[in-house]
């Protein structure tokens, strides 16, 4: 069924290339959605009955065969990818125009979805690297699709291409260390790895971790993410931010748990350290970003950091002999992956709809969209509430599970584990409030109040197909929040295949209830009670009252208020930016021109503030400059003299002979 789905997706590319430009996106979406639906069903079946199915093509040449295995862990990520894929394809019917409607662009979009599906089912080193590279190349090309209109896309694609290729080579190195001479399938690698020394296995883990962490956007390997995700077309950024980053987490779980079978405590300490750094850094930057897609990209770094904290704590607890709680932490992390895929894809699609409707993604230029584009506003609101972790939305249920995993891990007595858990809890606590600031800013400044530009005041609602794509993603945001038990019990079975020790920790049901441990939430009942209270209060407070009268705002005796008097995204985040000035290192420029008569009066005032990525400025750019300088000096070797080149050849030959001798 999986193969039929993949074939259908490939057929979709053919169909899309055959149809005229006007119907191309629709044709691709229809055929591709059928393919993705088949894949989703196949993955769902594997999730529910826990069966493992394999597919293998042998070939004469080594490394050329295809090995696919659909096991529960892979099926989870396949299900996420295919679901988000359908939403993105349907969305692109209305979204695709100009460059994105061209044959190559749409084919690449489909290829990107296909690669996202193959990565989690690839079961040999060669197939995995093939799918991984397909994912990297197709997404890189998709970023540059609109490069004519937006030159920034080129720079973003350069950063992305460089980072992703470096990351892929680290992964390849790590996996090659583990591969045996007999073959490169994951089963063979697993059995071979158990015989290797701890040093080799540690090297392999650290190497693959660097590669996977850079894909998951973990600080300090994140610099490509806030550039690439905003510059890609919205369906692409939704898939990149919702699904592709999750592949990094998949890689860590697959290699750490699957191929290497658990490992030692310090491996997972590194994972948690990466997670803590990403969570804090991402949350802070999200709270101070002005560009709505950049804000969402930083928030992705934040949430993936929390996921890595969950995975790392789970690994740490496994190595110190608490498999039960380790399962809970891993379950929390995977639930957060699923929830994040839904809410972040939804938010990116909604941000794309805003950009389409108003022509800008800068929050400082938006405002008042709730009256112009109410449907998009409502959908964005669902995503934002989920991300803030308002109870009865997806973000809350998953973060609650993660917190329970960390909390009950404190039964451990190993000092390092306790430090790791404490760091995780602290990071989770610090990011909660910051995420709320970021999303309140995005929604409140972007959609409420008065429009701040002509684009925002003349925004037009987007086509229905874009709404349909977003609605598809809004449903899991609500479902996972109101009835988390239905999804989490399925995820619990996935976790059981990864972390085999310890019994099931979640009771089947609509809400979430832990077995053995004291803890439960029933979001559905909470929501019902809340609805009752709200209905009661509304009835009582407006009982036999005239409807509210709309009047001018109080203006303190000043003239008619204009939209320029409102707070902007910059001013909204200013207090926070000032509090965290040492971490964010913003560049603030205040220029005051004094009046000629007296320097106590100002004639004009200009304020400019920019929050750059401190890691990029302080670590990457100096390194790049040094590399460039080294490259410049290497050019001195080539001065065009044929004698010198011949000398080089001779020296090289002698060295080779010496080495061989």
């Amino acid at each position: 069924m999986l193969l039929a789905g993949l074939a259908c997706c490939l057929f979709a590319i053919v169909v899309a290339n055959a149809v005229s430009a006007k119907h191309r996106a629709a044709a691709l979406a229809c055929t591709g959605s059928v393919g993705c639906a088949l894949i989703f069903v196949a993955a769902g079946r594997a999730l529910l009955d826990g069966r493992v199915s394999t597919f293998h093509t042998s070939s004469i040449l080594p490394l050329m065969g295809f090995d696919l295995t659909l096991d529960p862990l892979g099926a989870l990520f396949v299900a996420v990818a295919s679901f988000a894929g359908v939403a993105a394809l349907i969305y692109s019917i209305g979204y695709a125009h100009d460059e994105l409607r061209s044959r190559p662009a749409l084919s690449l979009l489909m290829l990107f979805v296909i690669s996202l599906v193959i990565v989690p089912v690839a079961s040999s080193v060669a197939t995995f690297m093939f799918a991984w590279e397909l994912m990297a190349v197709s997404s890189t090309l998709l970023i540059v699709v609109e490069h004519r209109r937006r030159p920034e896309a080129r720079i973003a694609a350069q950063w992305y291409a460089a980072m992703t290729q470096i990351g892929a080579s680290f992964i390849l190195l790590g996996l090659l260390l583990l591969s045996s001479k007999d073959g490169g399938t994951f089963v063979e690698v697993t059995s071979h790895a158990t015989g290797l020394s701890l040093t080799v296995r540690s090297c392999a883990f650290v190497l693959t971790l660097i590669g996977f962490a850079s894909k998951a956007g973990a600080v300090p390997f994140h610099v490509w993410l806030p550039k690439a995700h905003p510059e890609a077309a919205s369906p692409v950024s939704a898939l990149m931010s919702g699904v592709m980053v999750a592949m990094g987490v998949y890689g860590v779980v697959r290699v750490g748990y699957g191929l290497l079978g658990g490992g030692v405590l310090w491996w997972w300490t590194i994972v948690v350290a990466l997670g803590v750094a990403s969570a804090l850094f991402g949350a802070l930057h999200a709270a101070t970003s002005i560009d709505v897609k950049r804000l969402l990209a930083y928030s992705t770094i934040d949430i993936l950091g929390l996921v890595l904290i969950g995975v790392g704590c789970s690994g740490a607890l496994t190595t110190t002999g608490h498999p039960g709680v380790a399962r809970l932490a891993l379950l929390g992390a995977l639930t957060l992956v699923v929830a994040h895929a839904a809410m972040k894809s939804l938010l990116f699609l909604a941000a794309g709809a805003v950009e389409r409707a108003s022509g800008t993604r800068s929050l400082d230029q938006l405002g008042g969209l709730i009256r112009r584009i109410p449907v998009t506003t409502a959908l964005f609101c669902v995503g934002a509430l989920s991300l803030v972790a308002v109870p009865a939305f997806a973000g809350f249920s998953s973060e609650w599970l993660l917190l329970q995993g960390l909390l009950h891990g404190f039964v451990d007595h190993h000092a390092l584990t306790l430090i790791v858990l404490l760091a995780g809890v602290v990071a989770l606590a610090l990011t909660g409030g910051l995420t709320a600031v970021a999303l309140v800013k995005a929604f409140g400044i972007g959609f409420l109040g008065q429009p701040r530009s002509s684009g925002a005041s003349e925004a037009r609602e987007v086509p229905w197909s874009m709404h349909a794509g977003m609605l598809m993603l809004a449903m899991p945001c609500v479902a996972l929040g109101v009835a988390p038990g239905l999804v989490v019990t399925a995820l619990d079975r996935v976790v059981a295949t990864v972390e085999t020790g310890g019994g099931s920790l979640v009771k089947p049901g609509i809400g979430l209830a832990l077995t053995h441990l004291h803890g439960m939430i029933e979001p559905m009942f909470l929501l019902a009670l809340f609805a009752g209270i709200v209905a009661f209060t509304r009835t009582v407070s407006s009982w036999r009252r005239a409807p509210a009268r709309h009047v001018e705002a109080w203006r303190g005796g000043a003239s008619q208020p204009t939209s320029r008097m409102q707070y902007t995204a910059t001013s909204y985040a200013e207090p926070l930016q000032r509090v965290f000035v040492d971490v964010l290192r913003p560049e603030v420029d205040l220029e005051v021109t004094h009046a000629v008569e007296s320097r106590y009066y100002e004639q004009s005032l200009s304020y400019e503030s920019q929050v750059d990525d401190a890691v990029e400025r302080l670590a990457y750019l100096p390194a790049l400059r040094r590399i460039t300088r080294a490259g410049e000096s290497a050019r001195r070797l080539q001065n065009g003299s044929i004698h010198r080149y011949l000398a080089f050849g001779l020296v090289a030959l002698i060295i080779v002979l010496v080495v061989l001798a």
């Binding site: 409030g433 409140g444 803890g519 409102q566 509090v579």
Partner: protein
Amino acid sequence: MIADALAYAVTASLIQVAALALGAPLLIGVLAKVRARAEGRVGAPISQPLRDIRKLMSKERLRVEYSSVVLALTPVVVLGATTLAVAISPLVTTHPMLSGSADAFVIVYLLLTGSVALALGGLDTATAFGGMGSSRAITIGALAEPALLVAVVALSIQAGSSNLPAIVTATLTHPVWASTPTRLLALVALVIVIIAESGRLPVDNPSTHLELTMIHEAMVLEYAGSDLGLVTLAAAMRLGLLLALLASLFVPWGIATGTSYPALLVGVFFLALKASILAVGVGLIEVHSAKLRLFRVPELLAGGFVLAVLAVITDLATR
């Protein structure tokens, strides 16, 4: 049997909500009275805030012309989230409705939901004041949140669960816990958080209307009539809930634990007593402190956060 338990739970929740809805404005009155007496004034009667809310409820509702459905919904959502937290928390008894879901994190995030709704309402008015108050309130809320969460985690680790009734019951069965260093550190952290979250001095001055110092008042400046009444009531109930939770978690004695109805009345009496004492305490803090500059507030909250982390560490180190 199940019907009996349900009837008891519903009654208990109704009593809690009624006690807080009527009692929380009185607590605000106590705070004002303490302040007035300390300054040598007679002060308004304790029931003044309650009368103010009643008066506001009967006045006409006015809304800003640019506002959307968000501003109209904010008062009920804020009050609804606070009331839901009141209904399920162990305040008068350890068995109110949905007490299984009365998880500490649920309560924390319900309070956050209220803050988010208020902040969005402030932005929806499209005025400078609304934005200013919203920005300041959410910033302080975001900085208070970590201290609150970590303090709650400290209590949860000790009790082995983040379920609030479980923590209260555990304290009742192990009275020694009430005076451990962990509890004391968490208590100080929570007091700091409560002062910040409920907008009292030295973080915010609830009786000022100067644009340089307003936080909560700036955010709710455009509400009028019953909208303002609901928002004021919600703010009072928020303070009442936080003080009552403090009482239940740190000195739970007097709370009803069984399923007997008379015990509920005893619970209400002890709750009123403990909350009044705490309110006098908060009032005395207010009298003896000047308002902090906005950019000094993070230092105070960071102090609370560090104390909360220390609470966790002492708990881990002393077992």
